[in-house]
């Protein structure tokens, strides 16, 4: 997959990296079980702090898309593709709701009411 960092972008480097990774998983460019390149190598090539990259990995791990195992590298989880699409849509939904003037508490309650 292509990792790209734009220091002139209005999005933070963390958001850029997490977004690209999420998209690559949702579109199947990164298959379940696939191992990501070593974080240090990637950070070196992108000229970013390795902690920024690891934080992006951590975000996706919390979303259930990545499995981070110490010493064994980072892999894409089995159910990741559908999960990634869902996370993407949830993000869109939240952004839309905020634009419509809803507070975070209202969004939470709305989603909860649907469960």
């Amino acid at each position: 997959m292509l990792w790209k960092v734009d220091t002139a972008s209005k999005h933070s480097i963390h958001d850029q990296l997490a977004g690209q990774l999420r998209h690559a998983i949702a579109e199947g460019r990164l298959a379940p079980g696939e191992k990501l390149a070593p974080a240090r190598e990637l950070a070196d090539g992108l000229d970013v702090n390795v902690h920024t990259l690891l934080r992006a990995f951590k975000t996706l791990r919390d979303e259930g898309l990545l499995e981070v195992r110490r010493g064994r590298g980072t892999t894409v989880t089995g159910h990741a593709p559908r999960q990634a699409q869902f996370v993407d849509r949830a993000r869109e939904l939240v952004a839309e709701a905020r634009q419509a003037g809803l507070t975070d508490q209202e969004i939470r309650l709305t989603v909860e009411a649907q469960l």
């Binding site: 990792w3 790209k4 696939e34 191992k35 090539g45 970013v48």
Partner: protein, 337 residues
């Protein structure tokens, strides 16, 4: 793209001389090597038994034999097949890829030295005995023959690689360039897994363990050892970043192949045909030959034309992004001066 297509008349001459040189290397030289191997045999013919010991058991006792005529016939046929292959590979009068040149250069001298070595060492070790069952343990003869064959083959491959045109295999399909602003930095990673190679490595490991446990420990270890490069080469990871292109193999931390951006003249997408690059696996060498190729299958790949005229090829799925990024990095380097 290919600057090998210069003046047609001058390239015709060099193509003809390369064609002749390939024949000398693939057929003439092996015939000479074989003749040298037969000299001790002819000289010692009267001292040899009617049947020659051709196989030895684990304890070094001869357990199979062949009549002298069939012995020469078998070794001759072995060389014949090798030379026929050489003729078939070298027959093209057009410029051939380096892979073909080095395969011809390896194959001919290798089979000739192997057969010649076996014939010569058999004659030397079995002279003066009355019956083939008295043949002394000649384990060294196989080692001598194999080492001689490998040396002859490697030397031949080195010469042969100069008799092909680097990267004449296939024209580049495309050479895209990615838009990359000064504020942007990008890395492209991909991996390619060869299922046949993976299975081969796995079966070697299983056969090795079974052989080790069952009967012939040494053969088992040998087969087991061969499983290591097979299973490691089964997965190849390729990375393109501002430093250039890097290839790493399976779970092995070493060796890795790195081609720095400074050494790359241009990157392009090509359609890889394994035989034009010398077959499957890691073929050729950037140090001692004019080209190297990491070939896992037929199909798309990345081709790097290096500033020193050499060519590096690696097969990957969807090479367009990687090639475009490499070309962007090359442009950036050129602009930076």
């Amino acid at each position: 793209m290919n600057d090998q297509t210069q003046d047609p008349t001058s390239s015709d001459v060099s193509t003809m001389s390369r064609w002749r040189a390939r024949f000398w290397l693939g057929v003439g030289l092996p015939t000479a090597i074989l003749a040298v191997g037969y000299i001790p045999f002819v000289l010692l013919r009267s001292e040899l038994p009617d049947r020659l010991a051709t196989h030895f058991d684990g304890a070094g006792r001869a357990d199979d034999s062949m009549a002298v005529g069939s012995f020469l016939g078998v070794t001759g046929a072995m060389v014949g097949v090798g030379l026929a292959l050489c003729v078939w590979l070298a027959r093209s009068r057009r410029p051939v890829p380096v892979g073909v040149g080095s395969t011809v250069g390896f194959l001919g001298p290798f089979v000739a030295a192997l057969a010649g070595g076996i014939v010569a060492t058999t004659a030397v070790s079995q002279r003066g005995i009355d019956n083939w069952t008295d043949a002394p343990n000649a384990w060294w003869s196989l080692i001598v023959a194999v080492v001689a064959a490998l040396l002859a083959g490697i030397a031949g491959a080195r010469c042969g690689s100069h008799l092909g045109v680097p990267g004449s295999g296939r024209d580049a399909v495309d050479t895209p360039v990615m838009d990359l602003s000064d504020a942007e930095q990008a890395v492209w990673t991909t991996s390619l897994r060869s299922t046949p190679l993976h299975l081969l490595g796995l079966s070697c490991a299983i056969v090795g363990v079974v052989l080790f446990a069952a009967a012939t420990p040494w053969l088992g270890v040998g087969v087991l050892v061969s499983a290591v490069p097979l299973s490691a080469l089964a997965t190849v990871r390729v990375r393109v970043d501002r430093t250039g292109l890097g290839v790493s193999y399976g779970w092995l931390p070493w060796p890795r192949t790195a081609v720095s951006v400074e050494r790359i003249e241009a990157a392009s997408i090509i359609d890889v045909r394994p035989m034009e690059w010398g077959g499957w696996g890691y073929r050729g060498s950037l140090k001692v030959m004019n080209q190297a190729a990491v070939v896992h299958r037929a199909g798309p790949g990345i081709r790097l034309d290096l500033t020193n005229g050499k060519v590096f090829v690696v097969t990957v799925d969807e090479p367009a992004t990687g090639v475009a990024l490499l070309n962007a990095q090359i442009q950036r380097r050129v602009i930076a001066g």
